[in-house]
Symmetry: C2
Subunit: 221 residues, 2 copies
């Protein structure tokens, strides 16, 4: 198994919440499960620690990182900035084919909204946001975005929404698609910021920070 694959497998285990935030990471167990020795496992853990998904405690092993309210706020703030930038760049560079794909994903998402299927709605939602970042054509930006969104994914894509908030989110997505189609970078960036700000408020209000006695148990879509 290649180094990057080991990192990916452990990342997935953490994002799935199989090892919940704050829990110790059982080295020996993971070694057996992935059929590798401690050396490559530990290399992967150091990389994930640099990403912020794992917390290393000298001589006390590693734990799945826990997010405080402040962490969550900071991550959403940066995510807002990155998506706003991606939106602007996407408007300059997006191809018609990419635009069609996003429009299709949008229609799909709206259908799931009408059907009241939150899981599928979130899946389509995420696909749209990621497609915008891809359309920005900047791999550095895409990399940072991936790393930031990984850390808030569980909060972002599992928080339940009131009917009002959900309706607003869909409305905002209409505006997002519209701005993209008009190649209105400035407009899109403003809409994306507002959209993310609303999502952050939802998440923080729902008390999703991963502090003591507040372990999210839901699985991501």
């Amino acid at each position: 198994m290649l180094h990057e694959e080991v990192v990916g497998r452990i990342r997935a285990i953490l994002l799935d919440g199989e090892i919940p935030p704050g829990a110790r990471i059982p080295e020996r167990e993971l070694c057996e499960r992935l059929q590798i020795s401690r050396t490559p496992l530990r290399e992967a853990l150091k990389v994930l620690a640099a990403e912020g998904l794992v917390q290393l405690l000298p001589h006390r092993g590693s734990r799945a990182a826990k997010l405080t309210d402040k962490d969550m706020r900071d991550l959403f703030e940066v995510c807002q900035g990155l998506e706003a930038l991606a939106g602007e760049l996407a408007c300059e560079r997006i191809t018609d084919a990419e635009l069609d794909e996003i429009a299709a994903a949008h229609a799909d998402m709206v259908r799931h909204y009408r059907e009241g299927d939150l899981i599928q709605y979130y899946r389509g939602n995420r696909a749209i946001h990621e497609a915008i970042v891809t359309a920005a054509g900047n791999p550095v930006l895409a990399g940072l975005y991936a790393s930031v969104t990984a850390r808030i994914r569980r909060a972002r894509y599992v928080t339940p929404m009131t009917p009002q908030r959900w309706a607003l989110a869909v409305k905002e997505h209409e505006a997002i698609l519209n701005a993209l189609q008009r190649r209105d970078g400035t407009g899109l960036s403003h809409i994306l910021r507002a959209h993310l700000r609303h999502k952050r408020e939802e998440v923080l209000q729902a008390g999703f920070a991963e502090t003591e006695g507040n372990e999210p148990t839901l699985r991501i879509a």
Copy 2:
């Protein structure tokens, strides 16, 4: 020696250009120099590879990463976005004490400009940009900024400037300080973007991309 210290030492060696972009990283030599064995060294290299400073080639060891023109453009683009965001947030959160420090650093930098001392000018310049990011009060943002700027540091802070460009840069810094003092987040974010865009143009025009036969040999200030 602690893991983070090993990473830091190697990072410094790479940023100093002691191992120039594209060059193989001599494991055995570094082990002797840092007085550690290959295990912790290799752990550090994987982390630096995830940061983008090192390139890992399966079964062929690791090299100091080389930046193409496209990489440089992408990094500057993201850096622009991060600094613009930092500027906005800093205007909301900066304390009077922080503002005074930046004003002092600015005065210092202008003095070095008047004296024609490019090295010292760049040192002060960098301190200001970093202080703005710190004043944003968002450690996640600060971390991403550090990682992005590390990769372009050599290009950003060693490129020679024409007198015209240098004068413009100083003028932009006057505007930066002014916007900060007026707590004009939107204005500051626009100025920072333009400032970084100009720097990027300089760097790319100077042909600083680290492609074949174009190894920068200058040391950073």
